[in-house]
């Protein structure tokens, strides 16, 4: 549906040029929800703004449903953009217009017949659950309600694609979840393909089928969400995954525990979370696992668990036990102090 091919973007500034995107390629499947995650400054906002050409790429192409939009004339681009909805972190509503007008004005300006406008506005306001707020002004709405208006406005053009530029980043956790559920619903019920960018792992976990991790203008890892986050390869991806489990050990703690064995972080997904693997290895090998912390969460529909375990025992026994766990499909990674991990990478 959306195909981003070798996209690069360089900004010229007074102090030289900044490469915001370096050879980014991505493909968003029709009907999917694709998330791009990265810390601020990673280039994800530039990326999404290149998809509807709010920013012009320096090189590379973006095609939507087979049409290369980077080669369109100005007039064709206007038409193409009408099929690409977009929501923003700051909602970007007209302050001086009612909720109804905020949806209706763009429809009028894009030439939707007068008799259809009323029906469409009412239909989409009811989809986002704001039918009763039609006559209020944005200033009287909460952040979540404002974003719902923006979503209704985007959907009212009946787009095939919805872009979300940090659409939930300005909202509190409960409202974020409500908006994410709304996005899931419009993805399922209206079949709209969604490309979103975020810095919150939570957003990816909750709604995205596929994910790309960005850093310094590059995509460092991409694939199905479950695959990328259950076996993260790049440091940034690992940081995001550790972020959701949030078990941090201090270096002092790691040092003292290491004297008597090794610390591993174990990650379970789908099937591997069903077997009592730890109980089995205690019987099979001469080791004493001690659970330091544990957590279970979800990646869209799949359960995803993590344990931080201290294994007490001889090195070779631990090694064999770890091998056994790996065979059972459990991801293992030894936990080291910050200093040590720096030396290795």
């Amino acid at each position: 549906m959306i195909k981003i091919d070798h996209l690069s973007k360089t900004f010229k500034t007074k102090n030289g040029s900044v490469e915001a995107l370096k050879d980014v390629s991505l493909e968003v499947k029709k009907g999917g929800i694709f998330g791009v995650i990265g810390y601020s400054g990673a280039g994800k906002s530039t990326l999404i703004r290149n998809v509807n050409l709010l920013e012009k790429p320096t090189s590379g192409t973006v095609s939507i449903d087979g049409t290369d939009i980077t080669s369109l004339s100005a007039g064709e681009l206007l038409k193409a953009r009408r099929k690409i909805g977009m929501i923003f972190q700051g909602f970007n509503l007209l302050k001086t217009a009612t909720v109804y007008d905020n949806v209706a004005i763009p429809l009028k300006l894009t030439g939707v017949p007068k008799k259809d406008i009323k029906e469409r506005v009412n239909r989409f306001l009811s989809i986002v659950g704001l039918s009763d707020k039609a006559d209020t002004y944005p200033a009287q709405l909460s952040g979540g309600q404002k974003q719902r208006v923006a979503i209704a406005r985007a959907l009212s053009h009946e787009p095939e694609v919805l872009l979300s530029d940090e659409g939930t980043s300005a909202l509190d956790p409960d409202t974020t979840d409500a908006i994410l559920d709304l996005l899931l619903r419009i993805n399922k019920e209206l079949g709209i393909t969604i490309l979103l960018i975020t810095h919150e792992m939570h957003v990816i976990q909750r709604v995205c089928d596929s994910v790309a991790v960005m850093e310094n203008g590059e995509v460092v890892e991409k694939g199905k969400t479950i695959d990328v986050f259950t076996s993260p390869k790049h440091g940034t991806t690992k940081k995001f995954v550790n972020g959701i489990f949030n078990h941090q050990l201090s270096d002092e703690m790691i040092e003292s525990l290491k004297e008597t064995g090794k610390i591993y972080s174990l990650k379970f997904t789908g099937d591997s979370s069903e077997e009592p693997a730890l109980a089995i290895i205690t019987k099979r090998f001469d080791i004493f696992p001690n659970i330091l912390s544990g957590n279970i969460t979800q990646l869209k529909e799949d359960p995803f668990g993590s344990l931080l375990v201290h294994f007490k025992g001889a090195d070779n026994e631990i090694k064999e036990a770890i091998n056994y766990l790996q065979e059972k499909g459990i991801q293992t990674e030894e936990v080291m102090t910050y200093e040590q991990s720096k030396r290795i990478s």
Partner: protein, 223 residues
């Protein structure tokens, strides 16, 4: 009471005529100045770097022209422009003759005020409309000008009050008005009561305008 009546008997008709002349000068030149100043203000914003009609040369040019005109005090502009006024309207005296310099004086001022108002409009909203495939000309009217309305109204209030001040000098080319009345009768012929009354009328006028502007702006502002 009889004093008031006697005063009105003597000066009432002069005051009334002067008031009408001031209204004429202000309203005609205000309308023309808005017709020139608002598009100019929009152009000033749109030709800025990074905006949709980015044009460094045009932007610089407009800025210089506006700054040059705004540097000249109205009383000097009035005489400096005499040949131009004659060329445009065929006369340099009366209400007709003063409209041209008043417009030349006010339009660039309005352009600046409009520029400031339009720059306050949230860039994000404009971007959202660009992302929806809406034409620049529609964005100008339906997003930029619409969202800037409260601020535009306040700007126009300021411009109108400035314009009333400028019309006081219109008497120098025989256009009459309240300022002229105060100067000729109040000052030259030493009739303090005419001076005070005119000043009072001007104060009421300006106060009323400002209050009206504030009310309208507050009404348009929805946050």
């Amino acid at each position: 009471m009889s004093k008031v009546n006697a005063f009105l008997e003597e000066w009432g008709s002069y005051l009334w005529v002067a008031l009408i002349e001031t209204f004429q000068m202000v309203s005609i030149s205000l309308v023309i100045s808005i017709l020139i100043g608002l598009p100019l203000g929009i152009l000033l914003v749109l030709t800025r770097p990074g905006k949709s009609l980015e044009n460094h040369f045009l932007n610089r040019f407009l800025n210089i022209i506006i700054n040059v005109i705004r540097s000249i005090p109205f009383i000097i502009l009035l005489f400096f422009m005499l040949p131009f006024t004659k060329f445009v309207v065929g006369t340099t005296i009366g209400v007709k003759g003063v409209i041209v310099p008043l417009v030349v004086f006010t339009a660039p001022y309005i352009a600046r005020l409009m520029e400031t108002s339009l720059l306050e409009v949230d860039r994000g909203v404009v971007e959202a409309y660009e992302a929806m495939g809406i034409k620049t000309k529609d964005i100008i009217w339906n997003v930029m000008v619409r969202e800037a309305r409260p601020s535009i109204i306040l700007g126009l209030t300021i411009a109108t009050i400035g314009l009333i001040g400028a019309t006081a000098m219109a008497g120098l080319v025989g256009a009459g008005g309240l300022g002229d009345l105060a100067y000729r009768f109040g000052h030259l012929r030493y009739e303090p009561s005419v001076m005070y009354t005119t000043v009072a009328v001007l104060i009421i006028l300006v106060q009323g305008l400002q209050s009206l502007g504030n009310v309208v702006a507050a009404k348009l502002k929805k946050d």
